[in-house]
């Protein structure tokens, strides 16, 4: 098997092209926001990154449930891959959020429900990764990560609601502004681009997971 099938390569090219177009539109083509100025452009990368992170973790959840039911190691591989990629997207989301927050809110961090929940998501899936690296037996590793994957994700809605209550019992939630069509389609464009990137990274990462599994088997056999 060569370093990539034709489908993989075209997926990669498509992702790259879409990202280039998306970034160009977001940075240059779309006019700056009336209220927030140029800093608002960060939303075109921040929001898609956040959505993809969440999608990635949702997939971890689904794969974890599937694994616990069917005990097929393929589900475990997909789960682990999605978790790793999700962490990358989450870190990007948080960093971009902080970069956007400093000029607009005046602070790098605030205990806003979404921001707080995102940070907690990061902690959960870093823990997921750490658990995997410390578990030596492949079946145990898959089983325990699946458990953590299920519990971690099930906790997210509860966390989100708790933090929302925490923040809004004393202050009313801000009303969302209506979104101009320009902003909306630039957002959609970048969302599509990020989704292609996720798909491409998933294909690569799953293949790596398969290779690692094979390596483990061979090392056990040759030991």
């Amino acid at each position: 098997m060569g370093p990539g099938t034709a489908i993989e390569k075209s997926l990669g090219v498509a992702a790259l092209a879409a990202m280039l177009v998306g970034s160009y539109v977001g940075l240059v083509v779309v006019p700056a926001d009336a209220a927030q100025g140029n800093v608002q452009r960060l939303m075109y990368v921040h929001v898609p990154a956040a959505w993809l992170a969440f999608l990635a973790f949702f997939i971890v959840f689904v794969m974890s449930v599937l694994y616990l039911i069917q005990r097929d190691e393929r589900w475990d591989r997909v789960a682990a891959s999605s978790a790793e990629i999700g962490v990358v997207f989450t870190v990007v989301t948080l960093l971009l959020g902080m970069m956007w927050g400093k000029p607009t809110w005046g602070v790098f961090w605030t205990w806003d429900p979404r921001l707080t929940t995102t940070a907690i998501l990061l902690a959960i899936y870093v823990g997921y990764g750490a658990l995997r690296s410390f578990a030596d037996d492949a079946e145990q590793r898959a089983r325990w990560s699946a458990i953590v994957g299920v519990i971690g994700f099930a906790n997210v809605p509860i966390v989100y609601m708790s933090v929302t209550w925490w923040r809004t019992l004393h202050q009313p939630p801000s009303s969302p502004r209506s979104v101009a069509p320009d902003i909306l389609w630039t957002l959609m464009l970048n969302l599509g681009a990020f989704t292609l990137v996720y798909a491409y990274l998933m294909v690569r990462r799953i293949r790596l997971a398969r290779l690692e599994g094979e390596l483990e088997k061979r090392m056990a056999y040759n030991a």
Partner: protein, 72 residues
């Protein structure tokens, strides 16, 4: 050693950037935005290339070992 140098450089760069941004808080700062996009690209590209190199290393290791026996 190379790996640690990269991490060290990134860390120092991050501190410098942090100091820089903490001092200049203008809404219309386009540099901010470009840096943000740059960060996104850098992270995604870095991860993609890391995947590639991990894949190569693992594939090499797999090839160097005997296939696991049948009836596993």
């Amino acid at each position: 050693m190379r790996k640690w140098n990269v991490v060290g450089v990134v860390y120092v760069l991050a501190l410098i950037l942090l100091w820089f941004y903490t001092g200049r808080v203008e809404m219309d700062n386009r540099g901010f935005v470009v840096a943000g996009y740059g960060l996104t690209w850098a992270a995604l590209l870095w991860y993609a290339f890391r995947l590639e190199s991990r894949e190569r290393t693992t594939a090499r290791a797999v090839d160097s070992l005997e296939v696991a026996g049948t009836g596993d």
